[in-house]
């Protein structure tokens, strides 16, 4: 996954969001060791201090665990990761529904349209 950073918002928050996505999508699995701050920062083209701040926030939320000797790994609590994944999915759904309502669809129609849209894109 490529990093996608927009300069209008604090960069550390965006890094955090994208790291979470990388974890829940399975790029890094449960218990996997993460690359070093410097490697991650170089990959994203950002300052190591900014990456450090994002990692510290994830650490605080318990998604990653810092081990003094072996560096940082993804938590081995699968339920925590799954919970995070569902939270992100909920956010996407809420955003979708809000936009569809703005277009004048009802909730039912919005949810039916997903199904329809799915089928059409398969054909």
């Amino acid at each position: 996954m490529k990093w996608n950073i927009n300069e209008d918002r604090p960069i550390w928050i965006q890094l955090k969001e994208q790291l979470v996505k990388q974890i829940v999508s399975g790029k890094y699995h449960c218990g996997d060791k993460l690359p070093s701050v410097r490697e991650l920062a170089a990959d994203a083209g950002v300052n190591p201090n900014t990456m450090q701040r994002a990692l510290a926030a994830l650490n605080q939320e318990g998604l990653i665990i810092t081990n003094r000797t072996s560096g940082r790994c993804v938590t081995d609590a699968e339920d925590k990761i799954e919970h995070c994944r569902q939270e992100i999915a909920q956010k996407i759904i809420r955003k979708y529904v809000a936009e569809m309502i703005e277009l004048g669809y009802s909730r039912q129609e919005a949810s039916a349209l997903i199904k329809k849209g799915e089928e059409e894109s398969w054909n």
């Binding site: 300069e7 604090p10 410097r38 300052n47 201090n49």
Partner: protein, 241 residues
């Protein structure tokens, strides 16, 4: 101890005041953007920090000492102009740097030149403008310095060269060292700086964390800068002489 402290720093060139009462503390392990419009005092401040200029009033300390012979050993400086003689070969420059600076990593510099496609046997005269700037930056970044002072490192190079320069800065600076980059091309260094110093007419307007500034303003640093230093367009008007 802070890496750099300036207290009540002033610099005047005759009647012109270039810096007015600058108070500044710079910590270690940071990449800081020194941002200001043309003529705001960026280069003057950098030259005072590395001892090329003497302040008119006030104090400057780098690593606890007044800039001088000792501070040259820990400051790696990239001037805003080329200062190498045309006849020199890249290898001559490497020899000089190796001789002058204990912290210079020659091997690293040679391999970086190679990756640039620059032979160390090439004469500086023969290199393109972009390659000259890249070689110069390579030399500066291949030192394991405490303070890197980069005066306009990305002015006048193409976007690909700019990426190379920014990557070089990011990947090579000493983690305990601080990089101070002066520029007015803010958008280009937006992602790599963690603090910004905004300077205008010789005064420090702000010295804050880049992300905090974005959070407060909801804008990029570049957009903030454009707003702060906005100059009204000249749209004609009546000449009443």
């Amino acid at each position: 101890m802070e890496l750099v402290t300036c207290s009540h720093l002033q610099k005047a060139y005759g009647k012109e005041t270039a810096l007015k009462d600058v108070n500044l503390q710079i910590g270690r392990g940071k990449i800081i953007g020194l941002l200001g419009p043309n003529g705001s005092g960026k280069t003057t401040l950098i030259k005072i920090l590395n001892g090329l200029l003497q302040p008119t009033k006030g104090d400057v300390k780098v690593n606890g000492k007044i800039p001088g012979v000792d501070s040259k050993a820990i400051i790696s400086y990239l001037p805003d102009k080329m200062y190498f003689a045309d006849w020199m070969k890249v290898s001559d420059l490497l020899d000089f740097f190796e001789d002058f600076y204990k912290d210079f990593d020659r091997q690293k510099a040679e391999s970086m030149c190679k990756s640039l496609g620059v032979s160390i046997k090439d004469k500086m005269k023969k290199l393109s403008k972009g390659n000259k700037e890249k070689v110069q930056l390579t030399l500066v970044m291949c030192r394991k310095a405490q303070l890197y002072l980069l005066d306009e490192p990305i002015a006048g190079v193409d976007p690909a060269a700019r990426d190379f320069i920014l990557d070089t800065i990011l990947n090579n600076y000493n983690e305990e060292g601080t990089v101070l980059i002066s520029t007015h091309l803010i958008a280009d260094i937006e992602k790599i700086m963690d603090e910004v110093i905004l300077i205008k007419s010789g005064e420090i307007l702000k010295h804050v964390s880049a992300d905090d500034l974005r959070e407060q303003s909801g804008k990029s640093i570049d957009a903030m800068f454009r707003e702060m230093f906005h100059a009204d367009n000249y749209i004609g008007g009546d000449f009443t002489c």
